[in-house]
């Protein structure tokens, strides 16, 4: 064996001894994960929020649009329970009425259905429009229609003194504006007149159609806060 060959052999042997390698194999890594596990874990990867239904999110995006749009646009929360009471009073409704099925009684008894807050049990007011809540609110408007018409007819409402709602069976623009709180349009007047004429005619109850119109207008105006 030549000196060069011997030197080469010794260097190769030394290298092999240092690396532990055997020709034709790859070295075992020092940080090999346990059997069956993955490379990443909770400490090294992003913990995705998985407590949601993706179909609900997709459904909402399809209906409402992306967050960068919806965050700049108003939604439709229901009128607060206390706000509804204030509006009823402003329209001449006796909220303290004890008579069964009166607007005041329906309002005072309808708090749970309308999602009023229950602070004693740390339950905040419900903000969403629900079927039960809206049904009760609309029921209150239907029951309140006679009182509101009387108050408007007398022209004594503080929010719009001297304003009346009807000329005979024809709806008035200023009356509708007073009722719904926003300027009435020609379409408002048309729909109001249609409601009055489309209702069942009852000689014993000549104002029936007008009450229907008042109830429908108020329900539509106060669906959202």
């Amino acid at each position: 064996m030549t000196r060069l060959t011997l030197t080469t052999f010794l260097v190769a042997s030394l290298a092999a001894a240092c690396t532990g390698e055997v020709e034709g194999t790859t070295p075992e890594p020092d940080n090999k994960p346990p059997e069956g596990s993955t490379t990443g874990d909770e400490e090294t990867t992003y913990d995705h929020e998985n407590n949601f239904d993706p179909w609900v999110i997709i459904d909402r995006l399809a209906k409402e649009g992306p967050a960068r749009y919806t965050s700049r646009v108003h939604s439709c929360p229901k009128p607060r329970y206390r706000t509804l009471g204030n509006v009823l009073r402003s329209l001449g409704v006796n909220v303290d009425n004890q008579t069964a099925l009166s607007a005041g009684r329906l309002y005072r008894d309808g708090g749970p259905a309308m999602g009023e807050p229950n602070f004693a049990n740390r339950i905040r007011e419900n903000l969403s429009v629900t079927t039960s809540g809206a049904s009760r609110e609309f029921d209150i408007w239907a029951a309140a229609a006679p009182e509101i018409m009387t108050a408007l007819g007398a022209g004594t409402l503080p929010r719009c003194p001297g304003v009346t709602l009807f000329d005979g069976n024809t709806c008035r623009e200023d009356g509708i504006t007073c009722l719904i709180g926003t300027p009435a349009t020609a379409q408002h007047i048309t729909y109001c007149n249609t409601t009055v004429s489309s209702a069942t005619q009852d000689p014993a109850n000549p104002d029936h159609g007008k009450r229907l119109a008042v109830a429908a207008m108020l329900a539509a105006a106060y669906t959202c806060e």
């Binding site: 998985n50 407590n51 949601f52 239904d53 179909w55 609900v56 997709i58 459904d59 399809a62 209906k63 409402e64 649009g65 919806t70 646009v73 108003h74 939604s75 439709c76 929360p77 229901k78 099925l101 329906l106 708090g111 749970p112 259905a113 999602g115 049990n121 419900n126 969403s128 429009v129 629900t130 079927t131 039960s132 809540g133 809206a134 049904s135 609309f138 029921d139 239907a142 029951a143 349009t185 379409q187 408002h188 729909y191 249609t194 409601t195 489309s198 209702a199 069942t200 029936h208 009450r211 229907l212 119109a213 109830a215 429908a216 207008m217 329900a219 539509a220 105006a221 669906t223 959202c224």
Partner: protein
Amino acid sequence: MAKSQTTKRDEEHELTRRALIKWSLAAGAALGVAKSGVLSILEKSAGKGTAFAAEAAATTRNLHMIWGNGGAAHLTLLWPHPKVALANNPQFAWHRPGMATNVAGTRNQLVRGPDTPWEGLAPARQMTAFVCGANQTHTQAVTSTATLNGQNIYGVIAALQAAAPSVVPVVAIGEVNYATAPGSPQATGTNNADGLVNLFNSAASQANGLLVKSQDANVYKAQYDAFTQLNRAAARSTQKQSYQTASSAAGFLGRNLASRLAVTPADEARYGINGNTRGAIAQIGRTFIVAVKAFKMGLTNSILMPGLRDDPHGFFAGNDGTVVPPQLKLVFDGFMNDLIANTDDATGRSLADDFVFSANGDTTKDSRNRDGWPDGSSQNHNVLWVWGGGNLFSGWFGELPATGNVQGFDASGALAPYNGQDTARLAMASLAYAIAKRDERLISPFANGIQIADRFGPAKVQ
């Protein structure tokens, strides 16, 4: 991976079909149209596939009772701890010593007494009970047996049921601690059974009301829709859903469902309610009666109600043992008989086939000491009762022996040293599993990896 055009189109179709089903059935329920009528319309307009998809219910309905202020102790007299009842020890808080027998054929041990309800049901459809949670003497707002991985279990149940259409998804009667979970609706509150009826009633549709005539109800609905279109923001995508809900409510206003929901003397007779029935038990029975009717019409998916909250320390000192459990058995039996006998208006299936009952309380009291029936319990344990309708293994998980410490259970359902938190998690996940009709994928967002199939309930049949 990028989706193919076919996959995208299929998904859009499914999304649209899902929305069509959901709103069709909800509108039908709001208008008092039988679900079968809506399905018939769907079949004609959207095809058989859509109608069948609408009919299949992925979850069951649920009635949960919260027996706060010590009231859950009464449940230990209906579905007792097996070893306590069988011990025949006159000092134990079991009102029928020597009269307890094993229920044959249940997966885990279950014992009945003369006042145990639902004795005629098959072994696989008997009660399941979990020794779990912590004693919370005294409170109405039970939490240790009402929380699943930080979420209120009633909210979780409502979230699971969210895909099932109804007029009022969750009804909370009296003081119950409902809280929302991701995807769950708000609960609608009411005070009692009469309030439950009035939820689906309107003054306007009653005699002398504004909408008592159907023509007026139709005019009202149509004009409401017309007026809302004049609201400037009504067409905004962020407001449409609210206006759609309100529009359904406007249509609902002219329908009077009270006559179909009201409790009749014949109903009370079936539930054993008469002049001698204790007032609180009669209220429970009446709520059961209305609940069955509301479930039948698809008006609601989930009802939370209180049980007895009378803190019965003096139970064994008087004659309550001969009065209260038998009266409770009558109302519970009437409830189950009605659920079995009545069919869902839409599916035609027995209501009992798509229903889960559950009950918890703040404390079950000391089942091994009838003197003053103290509030403490071994290892501070509590109990959750679930009637899973066959979706859970029947019998007790965990046990209270005649002597010594209470035993809990581990993730396999086997007896283990008691741990209130761990057992409560497993019990809550099992309740969700039963509601989801054994679909572990459906409950996975809330259960966080807890396995129920073949451990606490049979696996889903694929």
